[in-house]
Symmetry: C2
Subunit: 146 residues, 2 copies
DNA sequence: GAATAAATGAAAAAGGCTTGCATATAGATT
DNA sequence: AATCTATATGCAAGCCTTTTTCATTTATTC
């Protein structure tokens, strides 16, 4: 899910302006990098890929901010490490992943269950603003033979 | 999802016997406690509820072992802390949760999407042994007014 | 009851993430 | 373009969850 850097910056400036949030070099670099990634990446990976041009702490702080602004989405692949992906206007950031338990290969999944399920669950329990986290895990074709 | 301790122990003995795994007091206590819990609990909580009768490390080790034996299932509620639940023969350990983002209330969800979705995804990408992790997040009725 | 393989406890460390504080910098104001 | 002020950064330290190491204890086998 690659994105145009141009687009990101427009979004960024528009979205941040009002909130007393600044456009800084680390934030631009992080967004730029996320735009080039195919799959969610960890803060550590971002830090390394940026050749440590900014502090790891700044990566964490930037990601947290970008997440709160709905520019970035957090994923959990079950290894105690958060991964982040740029929110893509196409799917509104809503898609899932299929992860190989063995080699950790990641495949993007566009399909999802019918949204009726979610609204039914929300209604049944009186919850509002219901979202979900869904990831699939299995063995990829290469790892099945092992 | 309470369970009979009796049942667990039978299962436990049967399952562990073959694998050179021993039935120890900490493991019995942990399983016993999990059988009484309504929702997934953290290792720390287990440790506390057992009045620290065994070391926290032992709790972690036991849970890992029990998980590998499919007696216990790990859940992730998005707060960097693993939670564990006894696998219930009724639903084969397969159910999900609805968690309040605000107060962290947990509701068990029995519904799930059609299993065709999963098999379709598995087939499409050549994956085997595909499972999924699905949790719902929202605002419970009490927290909506806040 | 002795042998032995596995489990435990205690201390330490690893790993992800956050916080406090002094310094630097973006963006507003002039 | 110089100044100002609030926000962001870097660095060090710390927190929290989880893992590792290793000596000791304990469950199971014979």
């Amino acid at each position: 899910m690659a994105h145009s850097h141009q687009h990101d910056l427009i979004d960024l400036r528009a979205k941040l302006r009002g909130k007393d949030h600044r456009i800084t070099k680390p934030r631009e670099e992080i967004l730029d990098l996320l735009g080039k990634e195919e799959h969610p990446v960890t803060a550590k990976t971002i830090h390394e890929k940026l050749s440590e041009s900014c502090d790891l702490v700044t990566v964490y702080r930037s990601l947290k901010m970008l997440e709160s602004m709905d520019l970035v989405k957090r994923f959990d692949f079950g290894d105690n490490t958060a991964r982040f992906e740029l929110i893509c206007p196409d799917d509104n950031g809503h898609h899932h992943h299929l992860i190989c338990k063995e080699c950790r290969t990641v495949v993007e999944i566009d399909e999802c269950f019918d949204s009726n399920l979610e609204s039914r669950i929300a209604k049944k329990h009186g919850f509002a603003e219901v979202t979900h986290q869904l990831e699939f895990f299995g063995l990829c074709s290469s790892c099945q033979t092992t």
